[in-house]
Subunit: 435 residues, 2 copies
């Protein structure tokens, strides 16, 4: 049987999982690839460090140069995180004639155009299924399986860490800080989870998916984003009373005058598929103009789900499918003008949830309602609980307002104006709502 | 731009949808294929019949021979249903050097080994994404995206017609016959829906998926199957009381001593993803040993979802990806021994729901419970409503029993024995249960 020599660069959690699949399940990979995928080298940072996996003699090395200089190695799973030296290593590997499989979404979101253009110039390919929603093969599904469609919208829970935190806060009533500690203990969150919980990770994934689905050229930093790091237990409680759950939703929607993009905690109607996605799972709902809605649900990250995506890419690359796809689809091409423009975020319509601390006096609701009316925002429902005679007399009290559809700009301006009212004694929480 | 000449054979509902995507959305297909997919011929049965689509001059023909004799046509979407002449036409087209895209699941389930072997001999390929769950790209997902996994189990709602009927009976309390008429009016059911409602269609799809996922060689007729054609409104009602919905589930599960296959109406726990699949939707849950559970949900059939799958296959075939996949994966090879054996259906374990008409006399439950105990079946719960003093005095009364796990063989033998009891006055309904 023919043999394709593979190297893994970066033997962290995912790299170890990939090595395990290649070493322990060679029958499976060769059946699907029609050839042996032979792990020839695994580049580690520190050779003396104990590992979870026993590598055959001669496989481990701490020299990336050994891989670059070995012409027999034609496919490399590059699994180093961060931007540098990951970017330079990828360029060096491609210059040396190797096709790349990567899980590094930050690198692609930041340097996609440069890397993909260089790959094309060199006749190489980059496969990146593992970069978005490890356990859901969304890259292949959008790029190939749904290729007869104009994708109309795409929305999903793209960050497993955030979803785990929100689920635990919602279901157990635990505090944000407690759940973050628990997530770190379970391996669902990094020591510094900032990129996960502030929406950066979801925005980077959404940028990659938007490019594939809509031909949009998106700098992830341009996507309006709010994280779950500021989410209060109160909002989860009120959302529940209103028949919703709060999820960190990344959303891309094709409108007549451009693409609407956003990442933020969103009230999602209970009983709808996205609302029921729990813990570290991811889910993506794609609507195509021919296929209709397709919903995907799977583990968002973790060693073996991500390794599953990397090895599927290794197989596709060894077989030659990746090259065909890569040559055909002009992924992140700097020569191609974007097919759609981003829509001005302020013009995007949606429903909103407002929570605000107000003084318990006559005229307060009237003043707030007047501001909303002025900004063309119509109220759908209001929650304000009365102080009971024998309970504690609270002031300020909490006012929750659900609106009908309004533009993001008017919601933002109304928020600012409401915050300046004398009867409003703190900042306003404003979240998007999906039915 | 390069051009691939395409022919459609069979301009029914799906063929018309495929023609529409090729003719109206050439930009989209050429972007994904890197070449123009040119509809050169469309073979119709009756040229004089009015059509929903206007074909360019010279495209429509009633002669399949014109396609066979045209060497410029290299890819054919063969969309004729039934076994013959579909089988012979496919062989003729392949002999003439054409690659095939088909939606004909009955043909593949029946003659897969012959057709795929001949395709390999001739250096041709057959793509068949549209043959199972049109709107869910499950073939590509199992064959490629999850190729690093040993699939452990696969279960789903594979027949949209049945699911529509069961959903409507359950939610509206409509009778089976009424809903079938409604489904026919809406185009969800054929004039003769027998193959859909008796489980044949689901068994054929399960046979194809089992081959891809487990390397099993399955004659669909060997899969134990029960349809929804005998489903009583009473069972939907009792299932609901017990916290379940009834769905027609096709299930394949890898056990130590072989593959467990079945198709039948099954009580599925409310709130689980499969239980919430409504109307004409399909859903499939796949568990891979690396990726974990992946859940897919989409439209099961219909003109454009199926056409979406056919056109994705046309693109993959024109690009050359299908050929690589087809050469690598020994689809339905008669030279390859099956990788797993089918497990004796009688040994498969599962929970059961029994409904039986019993006489309202002392000792009845004891007699039934004794039969179950004799067959090693343990009772989990029982529903038997008392005749109320002012209500009608009913005899026989209905007894519903939910069991703990038992083998299919003992459940079957217990059923036969219970039916022979004097206190049981009719046949026993026995359904599978999934939590």
């Amino acid at each position: 049987m023919e043999k394709t020599n593979i190297a893994i660069v970066g033997m962290g959690t995912v790299g170890t999982g990939v090595a395990r699949l290649l070493l322990d399940h060679g029958d499976r990979t060769s059946r699907h690839a029609g050839r042996t995928l032979w792990l020839k080298k695994a580049v580690v940072r520190d050779l003396s460090k104990p590992r979870d996996i026993e590598l055959p003699d001669g496989v481990a090395t701490d020299s990336i140069q050994e891989v670059i200089d070995d012409p027999e190695i034609t496919v490399v799973a590059q699994l180093i995180g961060g931007l540098e030296p990951a970017r330079q290593i990828m360029l060096d590997l491609m210059e040396a004639g190797k096709d790349i499989v990567t899980a590094n979404k930050a690198l692609l979101a930041q340097h996609g155009p440069e890397l993909f253009t260089r790959a094309r110039e060199l006749g190489r390919s980059i496969a990146f299924e593992a970069s978005v929603a490890g356990g859901i093969p969304i890259i292949a599904n959008i790029s190939q399986c749904l290729s007869a469609n104009q994708i109309v919208s795409l929305e999903g829970i793209l960050n497993g860490t955030s979803n785990f935190i929100v689920t635990q806060m919602d279901e157990r009533g635990a505090s944000y800080d407690d759940v973050v500690r628990q997530a770190q203990k379970l391996g669902y969150a990094e020591a510094d989870p900032a990129m996960d919980v502030d929406g950066t990770d979801a925005a980077q994934k959404l940028a990659i998916l938007s490019h594939l689905a809509f031909g949009a050229t998106v700098d992830w930093a341009d996507i309006p984003k709010v994280g779950i790091d500021g989410l209060a237990a109160d909002d989860l409680k009120y959302a529940r009373q209103l028949g919703y759950r709060i999820k960190l939703i990344g959303s891309a929607k094709l409108a007549e005058d451009g693409l609407e993009l956003s990442v933020g905690p969103t009230l999602v109607k209970k009983g709808t598929p996205l609302a029921e996605v729990r813990d570290a799972y991811n889910a993506i709902r794609v609507i195509g103009d021919a296929v209709g809605p397709v919903f995907y649900h799977g583990l968002g990250a973790g060693q073996m789900p991500t390794a599953s995506a990397v090895v599927a890419d290794l197989i596709d690359t060894a077989v030659g499918r990746t090259r065909l796809t890569f040559q055909t689809l002009e992924y992140f091409s700097i020569d191609q003008p974007p097919r759609v423009k981003l829509r001005d975020a302020d013009t995007i319509e949606g429903r909103y949830y407002f929570r605000l601390p107000v003084s318990n006096h006559p005229g307060t609701l009237a003043a707030i309602a007047a501001v909303l009316a002025k900004h063309d925002i119509s109220i759908a429902s209001v929650i304000q609980h009365e102080n009971t005679e024998d309970g504690p007399q609270v002031d300020p009290v909490t006012l929750v307002i659900m609106t009908h559809a309004a533009t993001a700009g008017s919601a933002r301006r109304a928020t600012e104006e409401i915050e300046s009212l004398e009867s409003v004694s703190g900042s306003v929480v404003r979240l998007q709502v999906k039915d």
